[in-house]
Amino acid sequence: MLNASLKRLSAALAQKKISSVELTQLFLNRIEKLNPALNAFITVDAAKSLAQARTADARIAKGGAQPLAGIPVAHKDIFVAKGWLTTCGSKMLSNFTGPYDANVIERFNDAGAVILGKTNMDEFAMGSSTETSFYGPARNPWDQAYVPGGSSGGSAAAVAARMAPAATGTDTGGSIRQPAALSGLSGLKPTYGLVSRYGMIAFASSLDQGGPIAKSAEDLALLLNVMAGFDARDSTSVERAREDYARDLEKPLAGLRIGVPKEHFGEGLAADVGKAVEAALKEFEKLGAKRVPIGLPNSGLSVPAYYVIAPAEASSNLSRFDGVRYGRRAKDYRDLADMYRRTRAEGFGPEVRRRILIGTYVLSHGYYDAYYLKSQKIRRLIANDFVEAFKLCDLVVGPTTPTVAFKIGAKAADPVQMYLNDIYTVPANLAGLPGMSIPCGFGRDKLPVGLHIVGNYFSEARMLNAAHQYQKATDWHEREPAGIQP
């Protein structure tokens, strides 16, 4: 059961081979055993989860329950959930209990899924390793000396260690895809606007997008079916007809044009990663896909542009954490300005403070044009690169990250090195395109390598189709970390 796909779990529940309560308890036991070492969860509340499982069992008993009914799902602690501590990985919100449900939570609740817990993350999603979390780093189940990636690293570690069948994450510059890659999982960042941001604590509003992390593309399709959909409370939510993201999974790949951007195979790409990705491209060719060389000429500008736009938006988004209405407030202060100063200095960690400072700077009078406006222009150029690319191919494929997972502490002191982790994933966020990562082999120290797939707007079904066909032909996604078996 711990290794089962969502489809199999769903069938087992429907056939009463197992109850949701039993299934939930199974994973809760696993969490109890492994979480002290892996630190994937910030909050676990067995009573709450089991109560939800009982409700799900009643629903299943009535028959006609939805595919995810009774299945426990772990949620990144960035999603506000009613009655659940919702910290966003920050000391600032270490006392904040969600007074309402995020749209994503609401959708899982409506589908009958069980909230299994809230997962660890980089503080306010700012980081690529979970090392900026106020709750300490999560560890990579493949090797606990390594980071699981971030910012949705807790979700990735939870699924990789089979503490959860699936999890949610958010992706602003790669925060779903990079941890999926580093933890040997499948992760999808949908087209901007597909998943509602209501109740997803904002990092950079124009880039943030929620999505699923799971063991396979097939699981991702089922999860996306629940998560995606128009929400009138999010003005950037896209109003379009409902679709079944699993509908094209079984389509053959003959004739699929796979674009390979030369810019993502140059300097900076580790040989082990390059090798695994190259093998995956060959596998796609075997499946009937055609390899097309493409260029994303402005790719190199994406990280600098991203690290202007994202902090700019963040500096404003995080202003609400001022100690006035909720969250932590400094104990002693002289006056209002001092209260703000101390509350924010104490409540935010160094990476969050750094980004607020950068963001404040680039929006300041006299610097706005040179930084913020210029970055917006670069953003347009990057989006145009993809418009050109998709004239030549159906999917853009390459490595998700330049290297496999790095050791905890290895990059913590060097923000620029840390930021370069996002080099291949950030363009999709800037362009608003859907991107995903699937496991495609192992590199140095037997650590997983991720294959990055970017599709055109709203082409999630097609991306999932390609990934699923690849996963039918390979077994990378079925490998599980050794040494953590109970």
Partner: protein, 479 residues
């Protein structure tokens, strides 16, 4: 050498929507603190703004009213204005900065020196902040977020006004307009309509002087007093060789003076940038057309029409169009009448009836005296049944619910004596009894005539038709 005053106004008009600019919470005034603040208004983590269509529509109405479709930006942008204050829950105010929904337009005002057009720079949508309460708590401040997120239209004029009188005329005309087109209730005590005045002085022909901005003027009288004080203050500084500092000032109504709040040096860098939570605000041609069609005839149009069609003076037309209800009352009454001239109707509506309604604190929309009943009264003056003086008494009687005009005339015996024979008999008696005045009149003393008229009126207890008395007296004296 004299000084020229230069004034520009920024007006915040609260839009009359039921819900807030970006949330579904109620905008009703006067609720207990924080009972009308939703998750969005208190800026909980994760919440997002959704623009209120009704508020946008009201902004469009305004744009159409001050200059037509050319004034409406088909695409405008919501921006964040960033600053920290406890009553600003998000740490930024959502406003419009580079691309407002309304650009340009004008407001035509009437002052003693005639009509003048005041150009508008722009009008943009924004949300209000909450309120800090510093009094009620010991060593602490309270925050009431009921106001947070209330929709505002900030209307910015060009520095086209040259006196406090013009500024007040502009504010009053604007106030009437926003009520006329039903986008703001105009309640100044509740803060639904408030002005910031940018005031500077210069030598005529010289470039603009340094300005001071006086904040939050919430009555026309304060606006006038604050500007007058400020102009005087600036002139005194300049004439004694000083310099004006660009600053924000507050008007203290109790002391009748303005005082410095903050200078330009400690001005914020608001770090405006487009709000990524809100896509550009698009106004389609269909939407615009729909709003245009629903727009009532505007005060400026009515003013011109009243002068053209009814031959009213600009002054009368202006008074009638102070409020839409008043203009409509005038038009309905006028249509019911054949005899009395539009001028007579206008005089009664602007004069006695306005005074009466004012006294009672009711508006023209309330049916204290229905147009039909009012028309009947005017008819009775016209057909000579009662004098204008008696009509005032009848009107007040009607307001007290004593009956119709005819019933009151009857009950109170206010009917004029219009029987020529009866009046002639009285005139004869008066002439016989006042030989001296008759002599004087015939000797060229015009005053004697008035005295004789007075005698006739006295003899009839004021009920004789004055026109008839005049005519008969003149005839008899001439013979």
């Amino acid at each position: 050498m004299n000084w020229e005053t230069v004034i520009g106004l920024e007006t915040h008009a609260q839009l009359s929507t039921k819900s807030k600019m970006f949330s579904g919470a109620s905008t009703a005034f006067g609720a207990p603190p924080n009972t009308q603040a939703s998750a969005v208004d208190i800026a909980l983590p994760g919440v997002l703004p959704v623009a209120n269509r009704g508020a946008v529509e009201r902004a469009i109405r305004f744009g159409l009213a001050v200059g037509g479709e050319k004034m409406i930006n088909r695409r405008s942008i919501f921006a964040r204005k960033n600053y920290f204050y406890p009553d600003l829950p998000k740490g930024y105010q959502i406003s419009q900065y580079e691309l407002p929904i309304v650009k340009g337009g004008e407001i035509r005002i009437l002052t003693k020196s005639g009509e003048k057009a005041i150009r508008l720079t722009r009008a943009h949508l924004e949300e209000d902040a909450g309120k800090s309460l510093h009094e009620a708590f010991q060593d602490m401040s309270g925050i009431d977020l009921n106001r947070a997120g209330v929709p505002l239209l900030e209307i910015v004029s060009e520095p086209d006004m040259r006196s406090a009188e013009e500024a007040v005329a502009y504010a009053k005309t604007l106030h009437a307009l926003v009520r006329w087109i039903d986008i703001c209730d105009g309640n100044m005590q509740e803060g639904s309509f408030r002005c910031d005045a940018n005031v500077s002085v210069r030598r005529p022909g010289a470039p603009l002087g340094t300005r001071a901005e006086i904040k939050n003027l919430n009555s026309f009288r304060f606006l006038e007093r604050a500007i007058e004080f400020e102009v005087q203050r600036q002139i005194e500084i300049l004439e004694s060789g000083g310099k004006i500092v660009q600053e924000t000032r507050l008007y203290d109504a109790d002391k009748d003076e303005t005082r410095s709040m903050r200078t330009k040096e400690d001005a914020h860098d608001y770090r405006y940038f487009p709000d990524p939570d809100l896509p550009p605000l698009e106004v389609s041609e269909e939407w615009l057309e729909g709003v245009r069609k629903a727009l009532p005839e505007l005060p400026q149009g009515k003013r011109e029409r009243y002068q053209r069609e009814y031959g009213l003076s600009a002054y009368d037309a202006n008074l009638l169009t102070e409020a839409r209800e008043k203009a409509e009352y005038f038009e309905v009454t006028h249509k019911l009448l054949k005899g009395p001239s539009p001028k007579t109707v206008a005089n009664w509506v602007n004069g006695e009836l306005s005074a009466l309604l004012n006294e009672r604190g009711v508006g023209f929309s309330q049916t204290l005296i229905e147009q039909k009943a009012f028309a009947k009264l005017l008819d009775r003056i016209h057909d000579g049944t009662i004098s204008a003086n008696a009509a005032k008494e009848v009107l007040h009687g009607m307001a007290r619910g004593e009956g119709t005009a005819d019933e009151i005339i009857e009950k109170r015996g206010l009917k004029q004596i219009s029987d020529a024979g009866a009046i002639e008999r009285i005139v004869d008696q008066v002439l016989a009894a006042n030989a001296k005045q008759v002599e004087d009149y015939r000797a060229g003393k015009e005053k004697a005539f008035n005295s004789l008229v007075g005698q006739v009126m006295k003899a009839t207890q004021g009920k004789a038709n004055p026109a008839q008395v005049n005519e008969i007296l003149k005839r008899k004296l001439a013979s």
